[in-house]
Every structure is written in structure tokens, then in C-alpha cells.
Amino acid sequence: MSVRAFRSMRPAAAVAALVTGILALSGCGGSSLSQSGDTQSSGPVKIGLLVPLSGVYAQLGQDMRDGFKLYLDQHGGKLGGHTVDVVTADEGEGPQTGVPAAQKLVNQDHVSAVAGVVNSATALGLRDFFDESKVPLLVANAGADDITGARKSLYVWRTSFANGKVAGALGPTVVKEASGPVYLIAADYAAGREMVAGFRKTFVAAGGKVAGEEYSPFGKTQDYQPFLSKIRTSGAKAVFAFYAGAEAVSFVKQYQQFGLADRIPLYGTGFLTEGGALAAQGKAAVGVKTSLHYSTELNTPRNTEFVAAYSKAYSKSPTVYAVQAYDTAAVLDKALAKASGGEKLATALTGVGPIDSPRGRWSFDADHDAQQQYYLREVRAGSGDTFVNAVVGDLS
């Protein structure tokens, strides 16, 4: 606070400000006191960006950082009228790196809010910390069902998706399109099991039959032949799969190499054929149908403009991860216009209303989760040597 600001104050206000300052010095107050909810304030705010910059998720983290930065660049580096100072921290591969990084952002850098988090275990581990620190956490990818919903906190919001919902959106469609029982397969970890459970719930409810269910060891399976042979002998007429990243590449390629792609249609959540994975799968992925809340091929003016801006800035196509981070910045833009930190900022998140996103309009539901349209996508050859997730319909 500048000297001139003090001089212009009435004496009572100046005393109050002094007391506030002393409180802050003695450790009773937080950094939020100096900027508590003043709508006129346009001082800089610090936003923590917690994304993986190393390890298996580094590519996702890069996309998210690019998406977040694009929104800032498009809005003159300001969110809600405040100049934004983005403090980036490396989430790493799991909670053992992600949790300390988040604590550093809150305790040392005194950020007003934290955006990001790819790993579900990290997000689950951070829930209580953010709830107690009274700093908002905007989860921009981690999909575990329990991050929002039953254990929701005023300080934890999700701009991305819940595993069960993105998989569940596909259930009724597969019942309609498949000519018989469906085989379920996923990587053996929390997200894989939540995806399969979410799919099974809506699929069985719509009258679908399960031909078999198998989980492959997560992060240790390079060869899917034993699983693919099982699928073939099970008599399944379609397959629902959840894999992401390197495993998605191996699974989809081998699905084609072992001759299943021609006979048994493959369905999955969009992560199966997203971003770098699709580029590596190439023509092996053609015909794979997935559910997701975004595709670069969405034919809306908002998305066309976004894809053009993103491609121009980073000379690559955007991914769902970039959009999620981009939208997180949009949410913060709206909320920071009303309050710049602490409980008031968290309350402001309740009233941000619909977000006009490249993925379509969405808003937070009562569970603090993104209420959004899911799309049915199919991999098709794009221009030149590339492949894209064409949007073939709306889900749910």
C-alpha cells in the first residue's frame, strides 16, 4: 500500500489499516487481508499453476501451461482486472512430489488460488490441505470421482471431468450400436476402475450385456496380446477400454496388429485417442469411437477461433488438457472480478455462471464439478498425414 493511499484515508481507516498490518506481521493474518474482497482493487494477484513438468505426465502439463498462458495472453495478462503473477510449480508424477509443491505455492508464495493438478491421488491428498488453508483449488484434470461430490469442499472445484461421468456418457450409445455383449478392459488403477464402473453402470442400465472384464497391470504392461486373445475368445461384439498416454498407444496399435480392429469395434473414453497418443497411433486408431467433452473438430465459432489462436501461438493442435486449463483461467477471470482471495474468492466461484468455452457452454454443478456436454468422437484421417477425432454426435 502506497504512502499516498494512507494520506488519502480518514484517520479511523488509517488506524484500522495499521492494526491490520500489525496483525499480519504477528502472523495472525494472511496475505488475503490486504486484498480482502475489494472489487475496485486492481493490484496484482498471484496464481499458482501446479502441473507436471517432469515424469510421465509432462506432456499433459505442458499442454495445460500453454492453455492457461493463452488465456492470459488473450486478456492482456489480467484476470478479473488484476494483473496476474503466475507461479508455476512441478507436480511431478504423484503425491510425493505434488503435495509438497502445492504446499510451497500456498505457504511460501502466498498464492490466491491454485490451478492445475493432473494426478487424482495428488488431488485427493490435497483436498484437506486446501480446505484448511482456505485457498481455492481449481482442479483442471484429475478425474477421481471423490474429488468433488460426497466430499466436496467450498475450496475445491473441478473444471475438467469426473471419471465416472465421462465414461458413463458412452454407455447407452454402445448398447445401441453394438450387436452383442461388450468386453470391458482398463489399466489396473483407481482411474481405470472408476472409468469401467461408470461405463458399466449406464451400460447395464440401458440393457447392455458384459462379455468379460479384465484389468491389465498399470504401467507394467507393454504387450497386450494375452488380453487381446481373451477378448477374441470371449465372443464380444464390442470393447470398452480405458488407457491413456503410452499405454493407449500400445493398446490401440496392438488391437489393430492382432486383427481385432477389423472385427470388434473399439470404444473408450477420449483419453484413448487424445493429443500425442493419437499422433503415435496413426492409422491404427482409425474408427475408434470415444466419449469426451472436447474435440479440436467441434464446429463452433468459439472453438474455431480457439484452435486458430492456439495453433498460431504454439504451432500444434490443442488438446482437451489445454482447454481445461484455458477454462480454469476463464473461471478465475470471472471470480477474481468479484474477490481476490480467501473465502470470498471461493464464494465467488459459486456464482461464476456459465463459461463460454471452446468445448461449449458449461457451468459448475452442485457437486462443484463441470456440468457439460459430452461428445461422441470417431478417429478419422485428417488433412495430410494427421488424424483427428471427428465429432459424430452428442452424448447424454
Binding site: 510421465v56 507393454q222 504387450d223 496380446q225 494375452p226 498407444v249 496388429q257 492382432f258 496413426g282
Partner: protein
């Protein structure tokens, strides 16, 4: 039943790759007592070389063979450098730290150069499709890999067990001091074997490319598998490396189809069993008489 037979076939393909990769590790360990933790990184360098040399979905057999040879050359150079470095470093712990450091540096340089994303490598042209095997479609490339594994096994057997140079290598494994007392430059033998082993690992990276691709972190997975093969087969033993590789290939493929719920620890169960029953490995090299 047919599904299990296909799994057996697949285990042979994985075993062939593992044999190519683990052989160098085993011989270097047996001869020089050096645990080369950079072996996985050399493999990964080969895989990324394939990414650089074989872009796109259409790869001819000629360019593929060239890529294998180029990787072998790069691997041999890396192996030669590592041999020099480890020979200048006495002590097991120092050597382990040195090779671990080299592997971290190489892996990081590769991820700086090629990015963090996963790269796929296409199989060469006549082998990029599937062939019917027992009523199932089987990728033709994996049959090629099995063929390569068989040729490599025979060639290495002839070289190590039947040639003069092979007897020199076996003698160096058995008793290095005695061989050097006979006036043979064991340093040269060691460097040669180190370079040849690394060349095989890098060539293995190209050969495994169409199956495993190239990505950060693959080096550690491959190193771990190769170490398991070496431990099961017996340090410094060619026949042991072959047996271990085929066994691990089968445990991974057939084991996973029979007991999918235990797939992630089957290899380690196999290793623990071997260590309990035959602590020196299944086929340890014949060592010098110690009395």
C-alpha cells in the same frame, strides 16, 4: 487352446528381444564385474535413433536394416566409452553410480531432443501386416523378431562356444588374472565385449521399436527386465541369458493369459523361485576351479 499357443509364440518374440538386450549386460557383468546400469539408456538411444531415421507409417526393409546397423554403431561407441570410464573407476559402488549417472544424462538428453511424448515406430514394409496363425491374426513383424532371435542365438553360440575368440571370452569370464598372465590383453577383450553388448542393446532398441515404441522411462523398464533375465540365467552365461530371456518372455505372455490377476508380479515370483532353488542362476558359466 489356440489363444495359449499364440501366447507362447508371443513369448518367444519378447524372449528374442530380451535375449538381444540382456546378453551384453550379462557378459559385461560376468567378465568385468561391472553392473552397467546405463544399458537401458543405450537401448533407449537405439529406439530414438529409429524414431529419427524411420519417420511415418511406411518404412522399407532397406532403411530398417540401415537403422539397425546405425544403432549398433552408436551403441558400440557408447559401449566403448562406458568401458573406458568404468575401467578407470575402481570399486563396485563407484561404477554403479557412474553408469547410473550416464544413464540419467543420456535419458534426459533424449527427452530434450525428442520431447516427452510417446513415439511409435512402424514395422518395415513386407512385415507390417498380420498373418493368420491358428485362426487368429498375428503381426508378421513379431515372427520376424523370433527369426532374428533364433539367428542371433545360433550366431552367438558359434562365436562364444566354438570359436577361438569365444574361448578367450569364456576364459576371461572364468579367470581374468590367469588369462592376462598368459600374455593376452584382457583390456581389449573386455572393451570389445562391452562395445558389442551395447551395440546389441541399441540394435534391440530399433528392433523392439515397432512393438514397444520409444518414450521416456522405457529405459528403466527394459533395464529391469534385462537384470531379471541376467539373474535368472546366471551372470556371464550366454546360454543362461538365452534361457532366462525365453523364460521371462513366456512368463510374461503365457503367465499373463493364464493368471491375469497376478500378471504384475509373475516375473518376480519366477526370479524369487530361481534364486531360492539355484542361487547362481539356471545356467551359470563354468568358473575356474577354486580350492
Amino acid at each position: 487352446m489356440a489363444a495359449y499357443l499364440v501366447s507362447v509364440l508371443n513369448g518367444l518374440a519378447m524372449g528374442s528381444l530380451l535375449f538381444a538386450i540382456a546378453l551384453g549386460l550379462s557378459l559385461v557383468f560376468g567378465m568385468m564385474d561391472v553392473l552397467n546400469l546405463a544399458h537401458g539408456a543405450i537401448y533407449l538411444a537405439g529406439a530414438y535413433l529409429a524414431v529419427a531415421l524411420l519417420p511415418g507409417d511406411d518404412v522399407g526393409m532397406g532403411t530398417f536394416v540401415l537403422a539397425v546397423l546405425a544403432a549398433a554403431a552408436v551403441g558400440a561407441i557408447l559401449g566403448g566409452v562406458l568401458a573406458g570410464l568404468t575401467r578407470a573407476t575402481p570399486g563396485h559402488l563407484d561404477q554403479a553410480l557412474l553408469t547410473l549417472g550416464v544413464s540419467l544424462v543420456v535419458a534426459e538428453l533424449l527427452s530434450v531432443a525428442f520431447g516427452e511424448e510417446v513415439h511409435a515406430i512402424a514395422a518395415p514394409a513386407p512385415f507390417d501386416g498380420g498373418v493368420p496363425v491358428l485362426g487368429e491374426t498375428y503381426p508378421a513383424y513379431r515372427l520376424l523378431v523370433i527369426g532374428f532371435g533364433a539367428v542371433l542365438a545360433v550366431a552367438v553360440y558359434l562365436l562364444i562356444e566354438r570359436s577361438r575368440f569365444g574361448s578367450l571370452i569364456r576364459a576371461t569370464v572364468a579367470d581374468r588374472a590367469m588369462v592376462s598372465a598368459l600374455g593376452i590383453n584382457t583390456g581389449l577383450v573386455l572393451t570389445g565385449v562391452f562395445a558389442a553388448g551395447a551395440a546389441l542393446a541399441a540394435a534391440g532398441g530399433v528392433l523392439a521399436g515397432p512393438i514397444l515404441g520409444a518414450q521416456p522411462g522405457l529405459d528403466e523398464k527394459v533395464l529391469l527386465l534385462a537384470l531379471v533375465v541376467v539373474v535368472i540365467g546366471g551372470l556371464g552365461s550366454v546360454r543362461g541369458a538365452l534361457l532366462g530371456a525365453v523364460l521371462i518372455g513366456q512368463v510374461q505372455a503365457l503367465g499373463t493369459s493364464l493368471l491375469p490377476e497376478y500378471a504384475s508380479f509373475l516375473i518376480f515370483v519366477a526370479m524369487a523361485l530361481v534364486l531360492l532353488l539355484r542361487p547362481a542362476g539356471l545356467l551359470p558359466p563354468r568358473t575356474a576351479v577354486r580350492t
